[in-house]
């Protein structure tokens, strides 16, 4: 059986939805890239309150994806999308509470496995993911755009969570890792090879966290 037939919509309708969505929310992609680059800059140039700002940026992106993408657009063709929206809004609330309000998150690059993994994933989400999509035939406006579409946003988030100082925040990782599995299935269901990287990102971050936990125990 063609895997696309496991879904209630066709790949054709899915990419048409991206076109409608991307055109409707323009210039949100520009703002998303500006915020993403700002977050990355704050990871390299920490300053007072930087963690709160980065967390607030991530919270805004997850809330946008939950409400604008999943609830308003994707729900038109996918009856499960409202549940996805709830997950994304919950993740936004977790970032807002833990990072923006409590100030418990410090994002900082460090030259170890977790640090390089995080940096690579963040840069990949910004530049590599759209290029890979382009090679697969998914060019503007029929593409998942960083910051306003779930998959590149999740890869970026996994990258930044690898750069959080101190012990791994598993409660912040749970939903992005879950989405890596759900979104990663699009590689097979919707013929989006760029989404295979979600699964690789999850493995890389999971591996880095496991290494961190082992180090902490010893």
């Amino acid at each position: 059986m063609s895997p696309a037939r496991l879904l209630s919509f066709s790949p054709e309708a899915f990419f048409a939805l991206f076109e409608t969505y991307n055109r409707a929310v323009w210039p949100a992609p520009v703002a998303a890239y500006a915020l993403g680059l700002a977050a990355l800059a704050l990871v390299f140039k920490p300053m007072p309150g930087a963690g709160r700002i980065v967390a607030a940026i991530l919270a805004a992106m997850w809330a946008w994806n939950g409400i604008a993408y999943h609830l308003i657009y994707f729900a038109e063709i996918n009856f499960i999308a409202p549940a996805f929206a709830a997950l994304f809004v919950l993740q936004a609330a977790l970032f807002a509470w833990a990072g923006a309000i409590r100030g418990a998150l410090v994002f900082r690059f460090r030259p170890d496995f977790a640090g390089w993994t995080g940096l690579a994933l963040a840069l990949f989400a910004l530049a590599g993911y759209p290029l890979l999509g382009e090679f697969a035939g998914h060019d503007w406006p029929r593409m998942a755009v960083f910051g306003i579409a779930p998959c590149p946003t999740t890869i970026f988030t996994l990258g930044l969570l690898s750069l959080v100082e101190g012990r791994a925040r598993l409660y912040l990782l749970a939903i992005p890792l879950l989405w890596a599995l759900i979104g990663g299935s699009a590689a097979w269901l919707l013929r989006m090879p760029e989404d295979l990287t979600l699964l690789l990102a999850a493995l890389a971050v999971g591996g880095a966290m496991w290494a961190d936990l082992r180090r902490a125990k010893t």
């Binding site: 059986m1 063609s2 037939r5 879904l7 209630s8 919509f9 066709s10 054709e12 309708a13 048409a16 939805l17 076109e19 409608t20 657009y73 038109e76 063709i77 996918n78 009856f79």
Partner: protein, 306 residues
């Protein structure tokens, strides 16, 4: 293997009525189309309907909506009547409603949709939403989709039928699932229609569902006639046998559909397509001869050997 007799098949074929068909220029010359009676009322409906799963769920995209409108236009021009959908199918009901506003419906729309939600009150609201999306005053057929909360919804549907808000009541399943629950519903005696999967490769329904439907005088809608495209893709790798011409099949779609609608207990098959040319091929199955029992066995053997 089929359990019905040659006599049953012949009696059924005699039951196929002819309604005037009126294709426009560009399609086959006008000739009678195959219709089947709804057992409980005797009302005749075309034996090929239009399914909307996946293919009509195209969101707001104007180009894709225009393509689906062409499918609907071809369907109606070639004598189609029943369109079947569900709130589960995303934007499909909205796309149908959009098409119905523009389509010229020559033979008469037979509107069929479903209720697919837990809770009686939410079901009422969902059906109201469906009426608004389709732009119809009332549905001809309302079905409980995949038996979700079927006992609660059945009460609503029977009340709606008594009040004239719908004309027929049914239940559905697919993929060969939930047959015991479907049989329980069929045995309540309150249904007019039942819908389940049936095609030349998936014939489990011949064992119990189709005989019970015939015994209970229920109209049968056969879904997944092409196994959501997989079956037709599989057979289309091979040439259509020359003997398919003996039942006036010009392509594999007609071969597969004529197998289904020639079963004496089947009222209607509902192939879904996103292409107008494929809709025209499907609707071609409404014309010409149908297979008898021995011919159906030959069709089964041929497909099994592919």
């Amino acid at each position: 293997m089929p359990l019905f007799s040659r006599r049953a098949v012949l009696a059924s074929l005699a039951g196929f009525g002819a309604v005037s068909a009126l294709p426009r220029a560009g399609h086959a010359a006008p000739q009678p189309i195959l219709t089947r009676p709804i057992p409980k009322s005797g009302e005749m409906i075309p034996a090929i309907g239009l399914g909307t799963w996946i293919v009509f769920n195209v969101g707001r995209d104007a180009a894709l909506r225009a393509q689906r409108f062409e499918v609907m236009r071809t369907f109606f021009e070639m004598g189609g009547g029943m369109i079947d959908s569900s709130p589960m199918y995303g934007s499909a009901e909205d796309v149908i409603g959009d098409g119905l506003k523009r389509a010229t419906i020559s033979g008469g729309l037979f509107s069929a949709t479903k209720v697919w939600i837990w809770g009686r009150a939410r079901g009422v609201k969902q059906m109201e939403d469906s009426r608004r999306l389709w732009g119809v005053r009332r549905f001809d057929l309302m079905q409980v989709h995949n038996m979700v909360d079927w006992e609660a919804h059945l009460e609503t549907l029977l009340a709606d039928k008594a009040a004239g808000r719908i004309r027929y009541v049914g239940v559905t399943t697919s993929h060969g699932e939930r047959h015991e629950t479907v049989i329980k519903a069929m045995e309540t005696g309150s249904l007019d229609f039942v819908q389940f999967s049936y095609n030349v490769a998936d014939r489990e329904a011949e064992r119990r569902l189709l005989p019970i439907a015939a015994e209970r005088k229920l109209a049968v809608i056969a879904n997944r006639p092409f196994r959501t495209g997989d079956l037709i893709e599989r057979v289309a790798r091979h040439p259509l046998p020359a003997w398919a011409g003996e039942i006036d099949c010009a392509n594999w779609a007609q071969f597969l559909l004529k197998f289904i609608v020639s079963h004496p207990a089947v009222t209607c098959a509902i192939p879904a397509t996103s292409r107008a040319d494929h809709a025209a091929e499907n609707m071609g199955a409404l014309r010409g001869r149908l297979p008898d029992e021995s011919f159906r066995r030959r069709m089964i053997r041929y497909v099994e050997d592919l």
